[in-house]
């Protein structure tokens, strides 16, 4: 009797569901440890988590609101990772996208409302995209690793934003606080429902996911991105312009992250500051990988991560457990889902069974 791993060709929907469920259960079991350490009842904590994430229209809207930037940064990572372009810089691209939105949307440009929003979004997309095209070009020209460069650029961008919101972009009415001038009303993404923070960015995210899905499956560009991502050498040999395709990927990836920034600044906050994102760029990587880089899956994974965070954070307040538990729960869930993905790729075989040849 021995145990062996065998790769699976593809996992059925049923199996996917089972594995997701098992991962969720495992995560909950692990979460019990810190909850018990804090001297509370895990069952109560679970109930409060669910309530905190979905228990009311408000809770649900908050979950969706948090999922919005995660969908976009998740898509940014998914499209880049598919092409084996390791964009770890979505955080910086998000800020640059937000910056562009503020630059065009704070009154500098006077456009009819119908044009203003698209302009703001396009500006954010292009700015974020450019922010990723730079490391992609550096990689092509100099061979410098994009993981490290995009990571470092995140720090540069945040400092740059700080510099701007303390300097040229500073809102004179902010009483000295480092924040930018606000967006004008026409440049803001409308709320989906009155009094709730959910905004049209969510729709943008879902549409972007659908568009990417279509792009990957139905377009020549998607075909070329897949080929370049899976086997650069074969793609080059077959005449696919590898470098140009990579730049397109970079533009799309950075652009999506930039859109996330537009969403936060135009949909939620109204002005730019250096604390716009609590790490949405990094979480996007997690979201994309949980989704197996699938665009539609990214939407679901973003919802999952958002719900876990919002639910756990709310639970911490209701139980009096330290609010650091929210990140802890997200981390544990992530690792459980990650281990689960292993069982989608491999099956365990026990003993010696004979298989018809």
């Amino acid at each position: 009797m021995n145990v062996r791993l065998e790769p699976r060709e593809n996992a059925s929907v049923g199996l996917r569901l089972c594995v997701s469920l098992a991962a969720g259960v495992a995560a909950l079991l692990l979460v019990a440890i810190p909850v018990l350490l804090a001297g509370r009842s895990p069952l109560e904590a679970y109930a409060l988590m669910i309530q905190g994430a979905f228990g009311s229209m408000f809770a649900l809207s908050e979950t969706l609101n948090r999922a919005t930037p995660l969908i976009l940064t998740g898509l940014a990572a998914a499209v880049a990772f598919r092409a084996k372009l390791w964009n770890i810089g979505a955080e910086g691209q998000l800020y640059i996208g937000a910056l562009a939105a503020v630059c065009v949307g704070s009154g500098l440009l006077q456009l009819p409302p119908a044009l203003m929003l698209p302009t703001v979004m396009i500006a954010g997309f292009l700015a974020g995209g450019l922010m990723m095209v730079i490391p992609a070009v550096i990689k092509q020209r100099f061979g410098a690793d994009e993981v490290v460069i995009t990571l470092l650029l995140n720090f540069v961008v945040i400092l740059f934003i700080q510099m701007l919101v303390e300097g040229p972009l500073k809102d004179p009415l902010s009483m000295g606080w480092p924040q930018s001038v606000p967006l004008i009303a026409e440049a803001k993404l409308p709320k989906l429902l009155p009094r709730l923070r959910m905004h049209w960015g969510l729709i943008v995210g879902v549409v972007a996911a659908l568009a990417l899905w279509l792009m990957v499956r139905k377009t020549v560009l998607g075909f070329e991105i897949r080929a370049v991502g899976e086997n650069k050498a074969a793609a080059r040999f077959a005449g696919i312009p590898v470098d140009a395709t990579m730049l397109k990927v970079a533009l799309i990836s950075g652009g999506l992250a930039g859109l996330a920034g537009v969403g936060e600044v135009a949909g939620v906050k109204g002005y730019l500051s250096a604390d716009l994102s609590p790490g949405f760029g990094y979480s996007g990587i997690v979201v994309a990988m949980l989704a197996g880089l699938s665009p539609i899956g990214t939407v679901l994974a973003a919802l999952f991560v958002a719900a876990v965070f919002v639910g756990a954070d709310s639970m911490s307040r209701a139980t009096g457990i330290s609010s650091y538990i929210a990140d802890l729960v997200v981390a544990l869930s992530l690792l459980c889902v990650l281990v689960g993905s292993f069982f989608l790729r491999f099956r365990l075989r026990f003993g010696q069974q004979s298989v018809g040849a």
């Binding site: 908050e62 303390e166 009483m175 000295g176 604390d275 307040r317 609010s323």
Partner: protein, 306 residues
């Protein structure tokens, strides 16, 4: 939906920083004390990002908390919007903007007065005429205190020069310490310790430091020349009292940080400062309390002397 204790007012605080942070810690301590006295039922959330801030406010409001204390600096608009939607809840928020009717009161740590007094002490004590100042970020509540300190020092010693740097982090004591060392190397003999880490550098190099907001003299024996302290108690107690009495209004509670209300005080180590400096500071304190002298509130970013 949880049933409330009979007489304890339910108070929640929402901090964007860990409660170790000096600023939050002053109010947190006062709230914990009130909780221990049984006056209030205190809960808090720390390290809440501005992105999450509004949600947390709403969650507490929904839970039936009566008084919410926190910082609206990064979330002025949404915080005010939430307050207007929960008129039955009282909000007491750190803010640079005026209060908003009917339930949104504001405050800030206005301890520029004691900061000015510590400046007098430092200005008289410095021998190199060089004072090093290390701050986190150049934001109004930091700038204000630094500027008052500098004004105080200059009032007694026009030759004094300042070296100012910001480390761009609230919590990087090793880095703050390095920045302080750099100032000592450049000739500073007194350090203004806006951040944790600066007094450590002073102690290690055997020079003096000026404390800010909290009293750390016991941790750095022989190092803390003087400190400008912020006391959260007067404001917190006033606010609780107002809530209990149903008299909470959208007013500026920032005044409770002023010396006249006991929200700010200076503490000077006489053995380090010497009687002369103490006397000068005390004299100025009299003037402030007597309102014959007003310390200017200057929120602009302080800069090194050229």
């Amino acid at each position: 939906g949880v049933s409330l204790a009979q007489d304890a007012t339910r108070v929640a605080a929402i901090w964007t920083v860990p409660v170790e942070q000096q600023w939050a810690s002053r109010l947190h301590l006062a709230l914990v004390a009130a909780d221990e006295r049984g006056d209030i039922d205190y809960v808090y959330s720390e390290n809440i990002t501005n992105t999450d801030y509004e949600r947390v406010m709403r969650e507490y409001a929904e839970q039936g908390v009566e008084l919410i204390i926190g910082e609206a600096f990064g979330v002025e608009q949404p915080a005010r919007a939430v307050a207007s939607e929960y008129p039955e809840v009282s909000f007491l928020m750190g803010s640079s903007l005026p209060p908003a009717e009917p339930n949104f009161a504001t405050f800030d740590n206005f301890i520029h007065e004691p900061s000015y007094l510590t400046g007098i002490v430092a200005g008289m004590k410095t021998e190199t005429n060089m004072i090093g100042m290390v701050g986190g970020y150049a934001i109004p509540e930091v700038n204000r205190l630094m500027n008052a300190f500098m004004a105080g020092a200059q009032s007694v010693n026009p030759d004094v020069r300042f070296s100012v740097s910001f480390i761009n982090s609230w919590y990087d004591p090793p880095k703050a310490k390095e920045a302080a060392f750099a100032m000592v190397d450049a000739g500073a003999d007194i350090l203004y310790a806006e951040r944790f880490g600066v007094s450590d550098a002073a102690k290690e190099r055997g020079i003096l430091a000026i404390g800010n907001v909290i009293d750390t003299a016991a941790d750095y024996p022989g190092t803390i020349l003087a400190s400008a302290l912020w006391h959260g108690e007067p404001m917190i107690e006033k606010a609780i009292e107002d809530v209990k009495a149903g008299a909470f209004t959208a007013s500026d509670y920032g005044i409770y940080a002023f010396m006249e209300y006991g929200g700010g005080s200076v503490i000077i180590d006489e053995t380090l400062a010497g009687p002369e400096a103490v006397a000068a500071a005390n004299a100025k304190e009299e003037e402030i309390l007597a309102k014959t002298f007003t310390v200017e509130i200057d929120d602009s970013e302080p800069a090194s002397s050229q």
